[in-house]
């Protein structure tokens, strides 16, 4: 795996693509060269009151220009600060961090929920096999158009305003989607549903998890999840989401 670096990088663009959701393009240089789908970058705030970096998954990587795209939702003071970033400004980042998706399988189901959708875009791009893409939203959709060139896109919305009414599993069932590998990212209840679905249908699944982080590089043990096997690092049933993850095989973790 590549070594993450910390540096100030230039904002190329930062635009609102949906109520409270922003599209940030960064001139990441080396960081982009080393990055793979499912990895993340941690962004530092400029305000000294907020010290910890904010982990944001990589949405798209352009290895030719060294540019990286991130898509984030404003949920607190840090992301609110990011929303104010202007073209040409610098932001401190560390990355790429973590272990991303392993590209495998012949028939893939890519499943994303809400703000868990962005990291799947680069995956959809790089994954060369047959693939169906299922995106779940509460109501308004975003980023779904970007996926269309990489596979057939199925949508679920809670209110039924677009696609299947219900959640991503409902959309999978409604469309009789089959797969030998699942890639998923989204809120924990969704990931639980996906893990269960994959288990009962005997499909291998890779899930991308989230936890509060401090160091982002595996040193502080803030970001663990329960693992089925003892972890090599501390010999207990805890894996570090920032280091062994954020992407895990569903069988390896307890949700």
């Amino acid at each position: 795996m590549s070594v993450a670096i910390k540096k100030s990088i230039k904002v190329l663009q930062n635009i609102r693509i949906e109520e409270g959701v922003y599209d940030l393009r960064l001139e990441a240089g080396d960081m982009a060269m080393d990055a793979s789908p499912g990895q993340f970058i941690s962004l530092y705030c400029d305000d000294g009151g907020r010290l910890l970096p904010r982990p944001i998954s990589i949405c798209e990587i352009d290895k030719e220009t060294g540019n990286i795209r991130l898509v984030y939702r404003v949920v607190g003071n840090g992301t609110r600060e990011f929303a104010g970033l202007k073209q040409g400004e610098l932001i401190d980042c560390i990355g790429p961090l973590g272990k991303g998706f392993t590209l495998e399988g012949k028939k893939a189901l890519i499943i994303g929920g809400g703000i868990g959708i962005p990291p799947l875009l680069e995956l959809a791009k790089q994954l060369k096999c047959e693939k169906s893409i299922v995106l779940g939203f509460r109501d308004v959709t975003f980023l779904d158009k970007d996926f269309e060139s990489y596979g057939k896109v199925y949508i679920s919305t809670e209110d039924g305003s677009v696609g299947t009414k219900g959640n991503v599993i409902d959309a999978i069932k409604a469309n009789n989607l089959e797969a030998d590998i699942i890639y998923a990212c989204g809120p924990t209840p969704m990931l639980k549903g996906v893990k269960e679905y994959a288990g009962s249908n005997n499909i291998r699944a890779q899930l991308s998890l989230e936890e509060r982080m401090a160091c982002g590089i595996g040193a502080c043990l803030a970001c663990v999840c329960k693992s089925t096997e003892v972890d090599h690092h501390t010999n207990v049933n805890n894996k570090r989401i920032c280091k062994e993850g954020p992407v895990f095989y569903a069988d390896d973790i307890v949700l």
Binding site: L51, E211, R212, C215, A222, V236
Partner: protein, 315 residues
């Protein structure tokens, strides 16, 4: 081999002495890492040349593997953070087999942070480490995040003295007692550690704190209470180091909110022989090295030849 090599290039070039001495051990400079914020050094070795550090202080090591607390284990606070990791660690055997050999490939001193649920467990770890090639042991009697052991030992002068002399009687390595700041009178606690035979004291561990998620109306940490660290606590830490330095003769390792060299210098001037960089590593992985360079620059700028001349210089 290692000891002959202690003068790094920087020091020779700048013609200043950064060496400090604690309990007969010579450190190439007064900067170490704060336990638990630097793993066992491995993760940060991509960012920092560990051989540049005065010492690496490891994450707390217990006799058997500890699971730690449920998540969320951390919460950000204004100018700081709360943690309730709960001392997750693989136990002393894995430490000795895996982490220690890794650390030995670097030219730095090794301080192992020791934790236990009972006095006996502390002694067991100390016994195991006494035969190993480590330089000092830091006895953590101040962790606020575990139900048993930890802070319970560190808030009462009588128990501090007892555990210190017990551990000291087991240890063939010099011992540092790591003190809790969650006490009425740090001077009394420092004196108790000294009376128990501590070779040095380190302070401060984290201050206990709490954060409430007002939207979900719950505690932010699964453990409810956690330990506060980072620049927010520095004034309290500097005050305690000053008070402890006035109370005892043994050397002090100062920490709590050191982000840059100027912070480290406050601790040294208040009476610390060494300083440890903790939370700052999470914000800047190169923080330790930058603190060392910054102290050197300060000394060159102010024409100070020996860092020992700065220790406790403000009285």
């Amino acid at each position: 081999m290692k000891d002959n090599n202690i003068k790094g290039n920087n020091e020779i070039n700048k013609d200043i002495c950064m060496k400090v001495n604690i309990a007969g051990i010579e450190f190439k400079n007064p900067v170490t890492t704060a336990s638990g914020t630097f793993g066992s050094g491995m993760e940060y070795s991509d960012y920092v040349d560990l051989s540049r550090l005065g010492a690496v202080t490891t994450k707390g090591v217990s006799i058997t593997a500890w699971y730690g607390n449920p998540t969320p284990r951390i919460a950000e606070t204004y100018g700081g953070m709360l943690n309730a990791i709960g001392l997750q660690n693989p136990g002393v055997d894995v430490f000795i087999q895996r982490d220690l050999p890794f650390l030995k490939t670097y030219d730095t001193k090794i301080i192992v942070n020791v934790v236990g649920k009972t006095a006996k467990e502390y002694c067991q770890v100390v016994d195991r480490l006494s035969d190993c090639d480590v330089d000092m042991l830091e006895i953590n009697i101040s962790c606020p995040n575990v139900k048993e052991g930890g802070i319970a030992f560190g808030q009462d002068p009588k128990r501090v003295e007892e555990i210190t002399s017990l551990v000291k009687s087991h240890s063939r390595k010099p011992i540092i007692i790591k003190l809790s700041p969650n006490v009425t009178d740090i001077a009394t606690i420092a004196k108790a550690a000294e009376a128990g035979g501590a070779d040095a004291i380190s302070l401060i561990n984290t201050l206990t704190g709490m954060k409430i998620d007002i939207e979900r109306r719950t505690f932010l940490l699964a453990n409810k209470i956690g330990g506060l660290s980072g620049p927010a606590i520095k004034p309290i830490a500097v005050r305690m180091v000053y008070q402890a330095a006035n109370a005892v003769k043994i050397p002090i390792i100062g920490m709590g909110g050191i982000m840059e060299a100027c912070d480290a210098l406050e601790f040294i001037m208040a009476g610390a022989t060494m300083v440890a960089v903790g939370t700052a590593n999470f914000i800047n992985p190169r923080a330790t090295e930058e603190v060392i360079e910054g102290i050197e620059d300060y000394m060159v700028r102010n024409n100070i030849k020996d860092v020992n001349d700065l220790i406790a210089c403000v009285r």
